[in-house]
Point group: C2
Chain length 200, copies 2
Amino acid sequence: MNTRSTAALPSVRERILETALDEFYASGFHGATMRNIANSAGCSAANVYNHFENKSELLVEILRRASDEQFTATRNALRKAGADPAEQWRVAVVAHALFTARNPRACLVANTELRYLDDLNRRRVVGSRDAQEHLFVEIAEKGVEQGLFDLPRVHQAVTAVLTMCSGIPLWFRPDGPLTAQEVADDYGRYALNLVGYRKV
Amino acid sequence: MNTRSTAALPSVRERILETALDEFYASGFHGATMRNIANSAGCSAANVYNHFENKSELLVEILRRASDEQFTATRNALRKAGADPAEQWRVAVVAHALFTARNPRACLVANTELRYLDDLNRRRVVGSRDAQEHLFVEIAEKGVEQGLFDLPRVHQAVTAVLTMCSGIPLWFRPDGPLTAQEVADDYGRYALNLVGYRKV
């Protein structure tokens, strides 16, 4: 029984974004074509151009959304984490890794195709990613200040941890032996180890 | 004064491989064209096809070489490392990270373009990467056996560390504040922390 009303169906714009992600994932930014995206979305190329000026515009929108949603997931998780920087750090990494494991295509495309955007468009995406990174840097700095983390270069360690998480889509399979949550928990533990945290 | 003999100039084949890497890096596998590669190498497209059957053949050769050279660098470093698994682990990660920092384009292309190869060609590259991974797994398993590392899932931790290293080309600049060696040393330390190593 299909009880979905028409209103619950994704809009044309949403459908275009979904099929564009498929296309960027399968063929890369340079291999993707607006025509294929339109075909898969079941609309005309002209219709795609009504919503997005060009391929860059589509990629920017996909990457910004993914980054914003990941950021929201991390901040939501942090709200329940209390004041201990070690716990905040672990919780933030677990949430970040969990989002990556559950949204592998968007996260992978973000890492592989971002460099093909021109400077201006890249900055539109990078702004959102920088905000995420800043959140992790703040937590790690608190950890260092309170003597919990042993870390000479906070920014570099944050980058190392975030790129470690960004590799999850390269191997994680939802039908594999581990759940996304188990993988995310493992990565939280790696991240806590990495910063030299010693439980007292 | 130019004292190089003609024999010291790179062969056409080598020149094609170099310019192909530039092209894959700048435009991605799907955006790269044999014609552009030929132009940049200063030869005809027919000449490129004399050496490489198609784009896949070129990408496979570039990625296999990079992987083999990285593997050799790691094994050479390990020869001087002694029998302590913790020291072996640190030394192997430092060598791996150092190669990545010094060969950013090949390592980045390996991570972003590999998925566009068909199954058979992907396996030709992955075989070489698997051998590298196996070396790290062996060391980590020794560390666990000797009670030096606290690690429930050795393979996963190795993957986490290797993807962490593979992110270096995304931010490292040779003219930045840190040398490639300093970055590699930091990553060696992160990797040692990550596996839960406790100095006794």
